[in-house]
């Protein structure tokens, strides 16, 4: 049964990925539809960052080290820090806060 679950989840995941590559071009043509498709990753990744930063295991909103770390990342971005500094800086802030018992 576990094998069936593993294989079904895998096949469905791949089918979803492939679906985006084989939709008829006419579905996503035109100025406005084209704009939607261009903006889609922005919307999905922004939503993902919000969930990764503020949503707890049960689905409720939780304020903890993750939000402080993202705040640090934004400050570094405003200061035009390079990509690696932003990523490592956020990890460092979250790690230090947690080591200090700050969630």
């Amino acid at each position: 049964m576990t094998w069936a679950t593993v294989l079904a989840a895998g096949v469905l995941a791949y089918a979803l990925k492939l679906a985006g590559y084989v939709v008829p071009a006419s579905w996503v043509e035109g100025e406005r539809r084209s704009r939607v498709v261009t903006l889609l990753p922005v919307a999905l990744l922004s939503g993902l960052v919000a969930v990764q930063t503020l949503v707890g295991d049960g689905g409720g909103l939780v304020l903890d080290a993750r939000l402080v770390a993202l705040g640090a990342a934004v400050v570094l971005l405003v200061l035009r820090a390079n990509f690696l500094v932003v990523v490592a800086g956020a990890a460092l802030v979250a790690g230090l806060l947690r080591a200090a018992g700050g969630g």
């Binding site: 985006g20 922005v42 919000a50 993202l70 990342a73």
Partner: protein, 235 residues
């Protein structure tokens, strides 16, 4: 396609894009250890754990499968949650397919590595060749790192401990934020991001995992389909 007309990427830009892809890949790989260990602890075999990383290859969905099964949930619930979390990959593909311009076997391969990380690095680039390079380097680095680390975690357990101890969860969010950042100078993109954050946060307490992020995709529809801001020419 305009690919043939595009200038090749300067060495400096190539290095920059490749470095981004490699760092994102390495940070994600560390999570593979944790997935491998967790999956075996949830009762899956090493082979089943590895097939999840090879075939399903989408972190959130994989954690969902072993999480639901480990908690005694039904196989149907495990597959449903995993699939819900995978919907966004299909939506990413609508965008990545445009700059990849792939066919045949390459398209099948591109589909497999269409995930958060490869899309984020690819779409963060301005020029076509950089978009393609970023997508492929990130996708293939994450795939290799994730699978090797899954095996390590499944075989020897989680030697590193919880990746959150090192702030790796915050590193992932910061990487996505950094990749989105330059695009937010554009008014439409900024409006989309703000709306998407609001939708995801409002939906999270009431909808099952996976759906809030998919719903956030509606922000792109709302902003993209809105009529042009230029005033209509006078009749």
């Amino acid at each position: 396609m305009t690919a043939a007309a595009e200038a090749p990427l300067p060495v400096q830009r190539r290095r920059e894009v490749v470095r981004q892809g490699l760092w994102v890949g390495l940070a994600t790989g560390a999570y593979g250890i944790s997935f491998g260990a967790l999956s075996v602890a949830a009762g899956l075999s090493v082979a089943q754990t590895q097939v999840l990383s090879l075939l399903l290859f989408s972190g959130g969905s994989q954690f969902a499968v072993v999480g639901v099964l480990g908690a005694g949930g039904s196989p149907v619930a495990a597959v449903a949650t995993s699939t819900l979390l995978g919907v966004r990959n299909g939506l990413y593909a609508l965008r990545t397919s445009r700059f990849l311009g792939v066919d045949g076997v390459r398209r099948l391969l591109a589909a497999h590595v269409t995930i958060d990380e490869s899309t984020a690095v690819g779409t963060a680039q301005a020029e076509g060749p950089a978009q393609r390079l970023g997508f492929w380097v990130t996708g293939l680095t994450v795939f290799s790192g994730w699978n090797l680390m899954t095996l390590a975690g499944a075989l020897v357990g989680n030697a590193l401990g919880d990746p959150r101890t090192y702030g790796l969860d915050a590193a992932a969010a910061a990487a996505f934020a950094a990749l989105l950042w330059p695009r937010l100078r554009d008014g439409d993109a900024a409006a989309t991001a703000v709306l998407a954050v609001a939708v995801a946060l409002l939906a999270s307490p009431v909808l099952p995992a996976g759906l809030p992020v998919v719903l956030a995709g509606l922000a792109a529809v709302a902003v993209g389909l809105r009529p042009g801001r230029r005033p209509e020419p006078a009749p």
